[in-house]
């Protein structure tokens, strides 16, 4: 089986290539079969491979397809390295990807650019797989930029609207800023280790760098730079809410489940560097904590269904960063997986709603959909519960609780980070259920045109089940103590031990988390269902309005960057449109012309002047010859 590893990314690439070349000439069914099928077979291979992996329990599978290039000892390959970490990722990518592809065949059915959509989606899946399977950082970088490209293409999928194009470019450029940092990190790594092979770096790094070495910190921070760009974390988070301009399946696949977690993958993959650079790791934790709060507040204020989900994604990835930052590697990855399920589910539900409401995304114009779309309601509710981490029954509870727990009890934990996490959990359940109440309860404001069909609901149901049950593979110590996931991760990522003093009272903290989450639901119920007037009275105060505006605009980051970077750059560029340096050369030319005019005055045509010229010359020559 491991000889077929290369097929996993190759199939989506092949599908994409075929769709690019022949897409316009194929029927819709053929396109759908090609697009969904390629990812489906990939998913199948992944599952088989995963089963083999679980039964054989090798350290990793490795396959080199070909040597990419080789220059003076720099020989990156197109080679795949499959260990537990990447297996989890490729499972999520192919499986969730397959469901979303399936869903898309219905969602995009009426779009005239059907083949293009699937070409881009397949390309994305291929690139994303390459990213997580790469055995060296350069190949990872290839996937990294490749998913960026697909993200750009899909955000701007409906290109005729200039705003979509703007959002697409914003996404690409801002992530590129992060990529630049990462590229510099790669330069340093290459300079230090003479290779970009991940495993080599991971084994050699502790020998070359001692803990806290400046270089290690620098590399850690630069990699973090790449990660925050891709994962929509502070300070490069501004592109993600705008990225919702793309079709909803795109948001589900790229901007919720997979691509945006590439940063998490990168940090987890390079954990040795961060182990060697505590400062960088702390920075990861702080970025995560701050981001999850800021994004949570912003999510509270949004009206656009997808934007709420977008901010929520930023916030949840913040949790993952927080986990990585405190050294709870496995917990971070676990949350990634769970999050992929429930966030994809939420987005797909949102997509179903949007489709049913003629592309209406404003929650204020929704309501009462519970009866109209029961399947969507129930699945959405499950997803929301998981996101809000309702205790015991949802998988979100287990993953988030694990993070919160290690944030406090882990060796690098801190009370401040824990408080931030708790606050975030509260806000999360508030905005989640705000969403639920606004959309599904109350009176019906927009008529549902056509309820979603089977192709749409089947993925929803599958994802809903996953959102409920997948948490059970990793249960807390005091709660049946299942550690399948962290056991799987153990060979790849270091484990974490909780503070023994606190560990005794773990149940107390679980209770706090449960209460917080339920409290959030209650608050949402209070404001949005029971007595909206209460909310209105608070909202009408001028301070609250200002705060609302501030949060609504994503804490003013867009305006800040606009004024700080974009406007000056565009201004400068337009100012110098005609190239100031050029005027230097035109000046030279004009000077020569001026001299010409001056000189041609002497050619007056008058004979006497010519005589005078000769006389002057004679005098000059005689003077020189007499003086020298």
């Amino acid at each position: 089986m491991e000889n077929y590893i290369w097929l996993i990314p190759a199939l989506p690439f092949l599908g994409s290539l075929l769709l690019i070349l022949f897409g316009t000439r194929l029927s819709r069914t053929a396109v759908a079969i090609l697009g969904v099928g390629s990812v489906g077979i990939s998913a199948l291979i992944t599952i088989l491979l995963g089963l083999q992996f679980l039964s054989e329990k090798p350290a990793f599978y490795h396959q080199e397809v070909w040597q990419w290039f080789s220059v003076a000892g720099f020989n990156p390959s197109i080679a795949f390295h499959l260990d537990a970490l990447s297996t989890v990722f490729i499972f999520v990518i192919t499986f969730v990807g397959f469901l979303i592809h399936l869903y898309s065949t219905a969602y995009m059915a009426d779009d005239s650019d059907f083949p293009r959509f699937f070409a881009c989606m397949n390309l994305f899946v291929g690139s994303m797989l390459k990213l997580v399977m790469a055995d060296n950082l350069l190949l990872l970088y290839l996937g990294w930029e490749g998913v960026g490209l697909c993200s750009y293409l899909l955000i701007g999928f409906w290109y005729k609207e200039p705003a979509n194009g703007y959002a697409a470019r914003k996404a690409f450029i801002i992530t590129r800023v992060g990529d630049t940092a990462m590229a510099i990190g790669l330069f340093i790594l290459f300079q230090t280790f003479g290779t970009l092979n991940i495993q080599t770096i991971l084994t050699e790094a502790p020998e070359v760098w001692s803990v806290g070495t400046q270089m290690a910190v620098l590399v850690g921070l630069l990699l973090l730079g790449g990660a925050v760009g891709k994962s929509g974390q502070l300070p490069l988070q501004t592109w993600l809410p705008d990225a919702m301009a793309g079709p909803t399946p795109v948001s589900a696949l790229i901007h919720a489940a997979t691509m945006v977690t590439a940063g998490v993958y990168l940090i987890a993959r390079m954990y040795v560097i961060f182990d060697l650079a505590p400062v960088a790791q702390l920075a990861v934790a702080i970025v995560g904590a701050v981001t999850l709060l800021l994004a949570g507040f912003s999510a509270l204020t949004q009206y656009d269904l997808k934007r709420v989900l977008a901010y929520s994604t930023i916030s949840q990835i913040g949790y993952m960063f927080l986990a990585l930052g405190v050294g709870a590697w496995s917990a971070g990855i676990f949350h990634f997986m769970i999050h992929a399920f429930f966030k994809a589910l939420l987005f797909l539900c949102a997509g179903a709603i949007i489709l049913a409401l003629h592309h209406e995304q404003d929650m204020r114009k929704m309501g009462g959909l519970r009866k109209r779309m029961p399947v969507v309601f129930w699945t959405f509710l499950i997803g929301a519960a998981s996101l809000a981490a309702l205790p015991v029954i949802t998988s979100g509870f287990y993953s988030k609780d694990q993070i919160l727990w290690y944030t406090l009890a882990g060796p690098q934990g801190s009370i401040w980070l824990y408080m931030a996490g708790l606050a975030g959990a509260f806000i999360t359940s508030v905005y989640t259920f705000r969403m639920v109440f606004m959309t599904f309860y109350g009176e019906e404001k927009t008529h549902v045109a056509h309820p979603p069909g089977k192709v749409i609901t089947i993925p929803l149901v599958i994802l809903a089940i996953l959102s409920l049950v997948s948490g059970f593979i990793e249960l807390p110590h005091n709660f049946a103590h299942v550690a399948l996931f962290s056991g799987l991760m153990a060979p790849v990522l270091p484990g974490i031990t909780a503070n023994e003093l606190l560990a005794a009272n773990e149940w107390m903290f679980q209770l706090i988390a449960a209460v917080i989450s339920l409290g959030g639901v209650f608050v949402a119920y209070l404001f949005y269902q029971k007595s909206p007037a209460l909310l209105a009275s608070i909202e009408n105060s001028s301070f609250a309005m200002a705060l609302h505006r501030f949060w609504f605009s994503g804490w003013g980051f867009d305006a800040l960057y606009d004024n700080l970077f974009v406007r000056p750059y565009v201004f400068l560029a337009n100012l110098n449109k005609r190239d100031i340096i050029d005027s230097f050369y035109t000046g030279l030319a004009q000077m020569a012309e001026g001299f010409h005019v001056m000189f041609s005055q002497t050619q007056s045509g008058v004979l006497r002047n010519y005589v005078a010229g000769i006389v002057v010359g004679a005098i000059m020559i005689l003077t020189i010859s007499l003086l020298l």
Binding site: W68, Y141, L153, Y159, V570
Partner: protein
């Protein structure tokens, strides 16, 4: 001899194309196509018949030497190594494209047009092949005049101005190089009485630091203007935007590369110490070029001018890499020369396609073409992505290698150069946005690419992908010549190291030397 034939075929083909206009108006095109194709096949044959492994010891594959003006020590020396071979392949490939894209675009004086086209190519071929400095200057200038005509006769509205500017800039800088060549000639001659322009012999000239510096600046003048490096770039946007498509493609794809080639071939090995001294400044110029070009590109509204400024930006990488003096950077530079030749050439070709259909280059007049011409859109997308350095395409390998190399030489400048990649994203995406996505203010009918145009575009896409995914054949071909150019620097380094560890290694060396002497005996 095959080298001479390459040049002769082009020149003779040019004359024939000119004359054949009288017999049949289409004949010049076919003759030109045939001539370039023949050369391309010859070059490919040379490439395939010399596998990388045999390149080992001496980088030179083929050499030809005929006395020309023996009184001055001028010889007609043509020599081919991996670097030249790659450049030739690029030249003839782009040459074929240039003939093909002119098929419909050029309507007047087709005979003379193809004469000029082929002679430009011949001049460029000569530049890439000759190893005699006199001859080098000769070809250097020979390629300019036909180019001048290409711009001046078949260019767009403001062609005269652009043609003048191009000609004056390049000539002025070329003359400075001539001075430097002469200076080198006399210094070398006065040292050992052997007055010659032979590159191989001049390589061994020992120069006083002051003289080396001056002579290096002479050479640099020509190459930096041609490359071009800010602040000597101002001829480029005019020339590129006013030239006919074939002219722009040749300018961007080949002429700029002669500057880079000159840096590699002449400046590096001839003046090893002076270049090391100048390296930080040169790299600074490169970075300034990367960023300045990118900013200017962003603000342009004329599509061809925009692409022209991207060239300024991309060529910044070349000088950055050249002056990093290591194999990574130089391989990057070679890759950049090829990849940029293809990608920017392709962008100009697309601009040409659009101009043919719309008769405007103003991107304000364009928009929404994806719906009308999806094939063109996809191809444009590929090359826009190449121009912003997307991995998987040739430009990425080039830029990454260059940056990896330059990082070893200078961290801060590399950081700024890397930031240039972000700016590249900004201007590149602007092209896609304005031309293919955003709806246009006025609606034009627009035909998608026809078979001939696809025949031009598809090979370029394939090539740029190939370069991005499996560049090894190219890198292997270039390696021996790059090591040759770097030899002087490695010796310098070795010298420095030797000073440090001279005592420890004294014994070892003496053993090595005796070994060397032993090997010498049979010779």
């Amino acid at each position: 001899m095959i080298l001479l034939w390459m040049i002769v075929i082009l020149m003779a083909g040019g004359l024939l194309a000119w004359l054949s206009k009288k017999w049949h108006p289409v004949l010049p095109r076919w003759i030109a196509l045939f001539a370039v194709l023949t050369d391309f096949i010859l070059a490919v044959y040379l490439w395939l018949s010399t596998p990388a492994a045999t390149l080992g010891a001496s980088p030179w594959l083929v050499q030809l030497e005929i006395p020309w003006v023996p009184q001055w020590g001028v010889n007609f020396i043509l020599a081919l190594d991996g670097l030249s071979l790659l450049m030739l392949l690029l030249t003839f490939f782009i040459g074929i494209l240039a003939v093909l894209i002119s098929w419909r675009e050029i309507k007047v004086k087709t005979g003379f047009f193809h004469f000029n086209l082929l002679w430009v190519l011949a001049g460029i071929t000569g530049v890439f092949l000759t190893m005699d400095l006199f001859l080098f200057y000769f070809f250097w200038e020979v390629m300019l005049i036909p180019m001048y005509f290409l711009i001046g006769v078949w260019g767009h509205a403001n062609r005269n101005y652009a043609a003048y500017k191009f000609f004056l800039f390049t000539q002025a800088s070329g003359l400075l190089m001539l001075l430097a060549i002469l200076g080198l000639y006399f210094i070398h001659g006065s040292q050992n009485g052997n007055y010659t322009f032979n590159y191989f012999e001049l390589l061994g000239t020992t120069l006083a630091p002051e003289a080396a510096r001056l002579l290096m600046f002479g050479f640099l003048a020509a190459f930096l203007v041609k490359l071009p490096v800010v602040p000597f770039h101002s001829w480029l946007p005019d020339a590129h935007s006013e030239a006919p498509t074939a002219g722009s493609v040749i300018l961007a794809g080949l002429l700029l590369k002669t500057g880079a080639y000159g840096l590699l071939r002449f400046v590096l090995p001839l003046f090893p110490t002076a270049t090391v001294e100048f390296a930080p400044w040169a790299m600074l110029l490169g970075v300034v070029g990367i960023i300045y070009g990118a900013i200017l590109a962003y603000s342009q509204t004329d599509l061809k001018r925009l692409v022209a400024y991207t060239s300024v930006s991309h060529m910044g990488f070349v000088i950055l890499g050249v002056f990093a003096f290591n194999e990574w950077a130089l391989q990057g530079v070679v890759m950049q020369m090829i990849a940029h030749g293809l990608s920017t050439g392709a962008l100009f070709i697309i601009a040409g396609f659009l101009y043919e259909r719309l008769h405007t280059r103003d991107i304000g007049q364009m928009g929404g073409f994806w719906a009308k011409a999806p094939k063109m859109g996809v191809i444009a997308l590929v090359f826009v992505m190449a121009s912003l350095g997307l991995p998987g395409l040739g430009n990425f390998i080039a830029e990454f290698l260059t940056l990896v190399g330059s990082w070893q030489a200078n961290n801060w400048l590399t950081v700024f150069a890397t930031i240039g990649l972000v700016l590249a994203t900004a201007y590149s995406l602007r092209i896609m946005q304005k031309v293919f996505y955003e709806p246009a203010p006025t609606d034009h009918p627009l035909a998608d690419l026809n078979v001939r145009e696809m025949l031009i575009a598809v090979p370029m896409v394939v090539l740029i992908l190939w370069l991005g995914l499996y560049p090894q054949p190219v890198l292997d071909t270039a390696t021996p010549s790059i090591n040759q150019q770097l030899q002087a620097y490695q010796e310098l380094e070795v010298k420095e190291e030797k000073v440090a560890v001279v005592e420890e290694k004294a014994e070892e060396q003496s053993i090595k030397q005796t070994k060397r002497e032993n090997t010498k005996v049979p010779l």
